[in-house]
């Protein structure tokens, strides 16, 4: 059941995160797999909870993972933002895998059952989004504008705030806001087209 978040391991991961930019590929691999395990565990626990009509809040999951894994006090803010950047990519994979698997397994049955992990909350307060549709629309957007797609990924699947995305991407928050705003129109169109 996931990893134990003992103080020493926490410190270990915190160090790894601190060395994100300078660490070896093996270090990154270790960090990634630890984060992924934890995210999967939390997501699965989420799925077992009673209310099937809840929409997944990636922010909540990612923060939960962060608190379990990382010794927060010792991480610089940009390290923390990096963590969420990693988590966003992993979260996207997990959610899409789950949604697809669930869909395949439940095809033809009531869709109610696949809701917990097939929708994410729009962080900007719009309506809930279909994970798979968003994922596919994001892939299309990446072909047009890879940087914008990454920003959206951080914002939607990582639950990062504009300021956090700005830190991860080394851009101004205003730019992030504009990129996200424009992307929303494009994605909305795209997702509707492919429904």
């Amino acid at each position: 059941m996931g990893i134990q978040s003992s103080p020493s391991q926490k410190q270990d991961l915190t160090d790894l995160l601190g060395r994100w930019a300078t660490g070896t590929p093996a270090d990154r691999e270790r960090l990634m797999s630890a984060v992924q395990r934890e995210l999967r565990r939390i997501a699965a626990a989420y799925m077992r909870r009673e209310r099937p009509d809840h929409t997944l809040q990636p922010t909540a999951l990612v923060h939960e993972a962060y608190l379990r894994l990382i010794n927060e006090r010792d991480v610089r803010w940009d390290g923390r933002a990096h963590f969420f950047g990693i988590a966003a990519r992993l979260m996207r994979q997990i959610l899409v895998d789950h949604a697809r698997k669930h869909r395949a397994g439940k095809r033809g049955m009531a869709t109610r059952t696949d809701r917990p992990l097939s929708e994410v909350a729009d962080p900007a307060g719009g309506q809930n989004l279909d994970v798979v549709a968003l994922h596919e629309a994001l892939d299309d957007l990446a072909a047009l504008d890879p940087r914008q797609a990454e920003i959206v990924e951080l914002r939607y699947f990582g639950g990062l705030t504009e300021a956090e995305v700005a830190t991860v991407k080394a851009l101004s928050p205003a730019t992030i806001r504009r990129e996200v705003a424009a992307a929303r129109f494009w994605l909305g169109r795209r997702m509707r087209d492919t429904q």
Partner: protein, 977 residues
């Protein structure tokens, strides 16, 4: 779009996003010189609501509460206000809420316009017009609560491509129906455009936003509103609106002249042109350029696909005539063109034009789902008519408004049940949400006193109340505890912990059984308090045990269970009986929740929004008869397993009706092939074909009353036949098709009028004529083919009898009703009479055997009766073309019985099902709801299908049914089989 174009588009989009939605298009038009890119960007701006609600400064933010609704997302905004998608948190369904924004809320002119919009919209009741549910004020915020129509707008659908001819005409026809109905009531849309037209998954077209519609001068009683003056026109087309509208605006509208229904006809022409060609009829570089095209240039007719049928091309030109005096005068005329185009002799190639949006293969497919809650609005009214067991019959429903209780509304079951009746039925306890702070608290209303419900102190967050056996105490859950409080006053007393309670019940011996946690077994505790004792544990196949009831005698518990396959959908729940103190538990009913044993000897429960009853043997803890639907439209929460009903030992039922369903009417042929007869934005019942099959009469529930409407099946749009302040139901056509007899409460000055018989000309001319006057509830059944005798059912204080009413006179000298005579009367029910086509036989329902069956006997007699149905049956109908008699089983399957007649003997064969002809019965108590009728050609059935549930009824949330047990005994005998 390539990356460099996208860079430019992005800049425009990002900037536009900071503006109010209504101003974005204008911004893009003004700042994007590249026409191609501009189109693309505007197209993106018009993209689905899904991802556009990011602009700050809206009246409401997601999560905000407006009365009972929680705002989810902004759908759009315009000069008249912002529209939000909102969720009713307790019933888990969505509505559209239009909110007058704060800055203008103080402007009396706008406010009054807004109110008018509500009134106009509320008056429109048509399947192709998005319906308004209500106009409500919440804490100073004015809102319109409207039908939320899911699906793309026509603008989304035709953004880049033309539709196929078939799709375009199917959509056009429904737009015509909507406009025709509105114009018939003197209402002009004024802003018809693709963005105001939505297409649901089932193919139903809904015209949205009659926000600019104004009643024509003739319909304005005071005459004070200068409806069509240029200033009114200018005022009402404020910033933003003119932009989206310009390409569809009639020339006279663009010039600021008076506007009438012909402006809509122009706009319709523009929409049809665009659907067929994939191009706007008038598309200029900017708004002024567009308007100059509208005023001075013809559309490019060559843009129409070559397969456009001649009648369509012709009607398009007629619609788009600049001179409105030469324009198509009546939108209904466009319908003929479409029909002409669709007749098989007109051949066309349906492959031109590419339908971009993938469509369901079956355009009119039925909705595949039915949610828990449902309809039947006035059912309780009729259920209560006549009360055999009481000296003073209670003939009107007792409506309790929960907002009598100091601004609270009934909770629709957030985490618990919400209703409880004291054992003697004198007091109703309910959970009410305070309208200001949203906190649920416990209220008690004394039913025999005319006074407000009393708020019980210190009951914040209360849920799942239940009475003590002596009625002196109420137990409830709150703050993770089980508590009790005296009904007559005092503070609550905590009994024990109950962290996530899911209901409880107070046994006669003073032991309280309850579900302490949502995924646990049941516990018990003394009503004096103490440590709870675990009583039952979850079986391997159980996720939960909840809403227990101690069965009389205390020898067993009845509870609602759910297996892991149930997906927390309690429509898949199980009712389980657990003997006490121990014993083998058994599932007594599957696909059911919130089971309650009632002293009439029945187990009642909810399934798919319908209350069912079946016999239950307390000694053997077994069901003794098949479940029968008794009341539709009972609110329940399928993710919680709670039903919003309660029963007293004295035989009273209190329940909260769920919202009104919208029910499509389908026709089904003898092979089970389904076609749509009428799509629906309303609830209807009692289908009755005219004798020539050209028209269909049925009562429509408008949210307050049933009134009869008549649909001309060739033209489609139904028109209202009756209109009064009383319910009007059960239409029955005279054999010549001239008149419709019906049951109505009209003309009564009493507090609780009863249903008597009336008739009126089917074309709506002339007055309504009363046919009978009686204290007893009556409903027409069938006219004898001679047209002079009406068989009807009458409810005496003891039973339903079949009666005859002879009409005297003739068409020339006028008709006078004679004195009714009794045909069939016995100490059991006999009802729903139906004459055979030759008038020699009468079919009817009888409960002689202890269960309702359909019988036939000779008319006028003498002769014995022949049983037609097997396994129970109701609602006999004769075929006019074949030797067949139809009836419905209790669970809504239409059966066919072939018969032969030899001399005086009537021989019936075994019933066989009509393929695919199944409806969801609304319950068999009270008035028969005639959910189907046979077309006079004998080959098709009209059937009201289940449809989609509407929002909960909040204004009058509780219905009381006094003699419920008597009705159960009558309709669902405990040992029916």
């Amino acid at each position: 779009m390539n990356p460099s174009e996208w860079e430019r588009a992005k800049a425009l989009l990002a900037e536009a996003a900071t503006l109010p939605a209504a101003d974005r298009v204008r911004f893009v038009i003004e700042h994007c010189p590249d026409e191609e890119l501009r189109r693309e960007v505007i197209d993106l701006l018009d993209s689905p609501a899904a991802l556009t609600g990011i602009v700050a400064g809206h009246a409401l933010q997601p999560g905000a509460r407006v009365g009972p609704y929680v705002i989810e997302t902004l759908l759009g905004s315009g000069g008249m206000g912002e529209v939000y998608r909102a969720r009713d948190g307790t019933l888990n369904r969505c509505v559209a809420i239009k909110v007058l924004p704060d800055p203008v809320a103080d402007d009396p002119g706008r406010r009054s316009r807004f109110r008018r919009e509500a009134q106009i919209l509320a008056a429109l009741n048509h399947p192709n017009i998005a319906h308004i549910h209500g106009f409500e004020e919440f804490g100073g915020v004015d809102t319109l609560v409207m039908e939320l129509v899911d699906g793309p707008t026509l603008a989304d659908t035709i953004a880049h491509h033309a539709l196929t001819l078939t799709d375009a005409l199917a959509i056009a026809r429904q737009i015509i129906d909507a406009l025709d109905a509105a114009h018939g009531q003197g209402i002009v849309h004024r802003d018809l455009k693709p963005a105001n037209i939505k297409i649901r998954d089932d193919g139903t077209v809904k015209v949205l936003d009659f926000g600019l519609a104004k009643a024509l001068a003739s319909r304005t009683p005071s005459g004070t509103e200068a409806v069509s003056s240029p200033t009114a026109s200018v005022r009402s087309t404020e910033a933003g609106l003119v932009l989206g509208t310009a390409p569809y605006m009639a020339p006279e509208q663009a010039l600021g002249k008076t506007v009438d229904k012909r402006a809509d006809i122009w706009s319709f022409g523009c929409v049809l042109f665009e659907m067929l060609s994939g191009r706007r009829a008038f598309a200029g570089k900017d708004v002024s350029d567009t308007l100059s095209l509208v005023i001075g240039k013809d559309p490019d007719w060559t843009a129409l696909p070559s397969n456009t049928p001649a009648p369509i091309a012709r009607v398009l030109r007629q619609c788009l005539h600049k001179d409105r005096s030469r324009r198509l005068a009546d939108i209904a005329d466009a319908r003929f063109a479409i029909e002409e185009a669709l007749t098989p002799s007109t051949e066309f190639d349906d492959t031109a034009g590419v339908s971009r949006a993938p469509r369901p293969a079956v355009w009119w497919r039925a909705l595949p789902w039915v949610l828990a809650a449902a309809t039947g609005g006035a059912l309780a009214f009729v259920l209560l008519s006549g009360s055999p067991s009481r000296t003073t019959p209670m003939t009107a429903p007792l409506h309790l408004t929960a907002d009598l209780a100091a601004g609270a509304v009934l909770s629709f079951g957030g985490t618990g049940s919400s209703l409880a009746l004291s054992p003697n039925g004198t007091e109703l306890a309910f959970i009410g949400h305070n309208l200001t702070d949203g906190v649920p608290r416990l209220f008690v209303r004394h039913l025999e006193r005319q006074e407000d419900a009393a708020l019980l102190p210190e009951t914040d967050g209360a849920m799942s109340p239940f009475f003590s056996p002596d009625g002196q105490w109420l137990a409830f859950f709150g703050s993770g505890k089980l508590k009790k409080i005296s009904v007559s006053g005092g503070a609550p007393i905590t009994l024990c912990d109950a962290p996530n309670a899911r209901g409880g019940d107070w046994g006669d011996d003073g032991t309280i059984f309850f579900s302490a946690d949502r995924q646990s077994g049941l516990s018990r505790v003394s009503s004096a308090g103490g440590a709870p004792v675990v009583t039952t544990t979850l079986d391997a196949g159980e996720l939960t045990q909840r809403f227990p009831q101690v069965l009389p005698g205390g020898k067993a518990l009845l509870y609602t269970s759910l297996s892991p396959q149930g997906d927390f959908d309690f429509d898949k729940g199980n009712l389980v009986v657990q003997p006490l103190p121990s014993g083998v538990r058994k599932v007594v009913q599957r696909g059911a929740y919130f089971g309650r044993y009632v002293p009439s000897g029945h187990l009642i429960f909810l399934r798919n929004g319908t209350l069912f009853a079946q016999g239950f043997d307390l000694a053997r803890l077994e069901v003794t008869s098949a479940p029968i639907p008794v009341i539709d439209n009972v609110a329940g929460n399928t993710t919680l397993g709670a039903g919003l009903f309660a029963v007293s030992n004295a035989g009273m039922l209190a329940y909260a009706p769920a919202g009104t369903r919208t029910r499509p009417i389908e026709s089904i042929d003898r092979f089970g092939k389904v076609a749509s007869l009428q799509s629906a934005s309303s609830d209807w019942s009692d289908l009755a074909f005219a004798p020539d099959g050209s028209r269909l009469a049925y009562p429509v529930w408008d949210g307050k009353l049933w009134d009869i409407w008549v649909a001309d099946l060739a033209r489609g749009a139904p028109t209202r036949l009756t209109s009064s302040n009383s319910h009007t139901q059960s239409p029955v056509w005279t054999p010549d098709g001239r008149r419709i007899a019906f049951a109505s409460q009209r003309g009564e000055r009493k507090v609780s009028p009863t249903f008597n018989l009336y008739w009126q000309r089917a074309d709506g001319s002339g007055d309504v004529q009363r046919l009978t006057t009686s204290e007893n509830m009556q409903a027409p059944g069938s006219w004898h083919p001679n047209g002079k005798v009406l068989a009807f059912e009458e409810r005496t204080p003891s039973h339903f009898n079949v009666m005859l009413l002879a009409m005297e006179g003739d068409e020339a000298s006028g008709w006078r009703p004679g004195t009714p005579t009794t045909l069939l009367s016995a100490d059991f029910d006999q009802r729903a009479p139906a004459f055979s086509p030759d008038g020699r036989w009468l079919a009817y329902e009888s409960s002689q055997s202890g269960q309702l069956h359909v019988y036939v006997r000779a008319f006028p007699g003498p002769g014995s009766q022949v049983q037609i149905s097997t396994g129970g049956g109701v609602l006999p109908k004769w075929s006019r073309t074949r030797r067949e008699l139809l009836y419905s089983t209790f669970d809504g399957q239409i059966m066919i019985v072939s018969y032969s007649v030899a001399g005086a003997s009537f021989k019936a064969e075994l019933p066989r099902p009509w393929p695919g002809a199944r409806y969801t019965p609304r319950g068999l108590l009270g008035f028969r709801i005639r959910e189907f009728d046979l077309h006079p050609d004998g080959n098709r059935l009209a059937l009201v299908t289940a449809g989609a549930p509407g929002p909960p009824i909040r204004r009058f949330p509780v219905r009381i049914f006094l003699n419920f047990f008597d009705e159960l005994q009558r309709t669902a005998p405990p040992r029916g089989k």
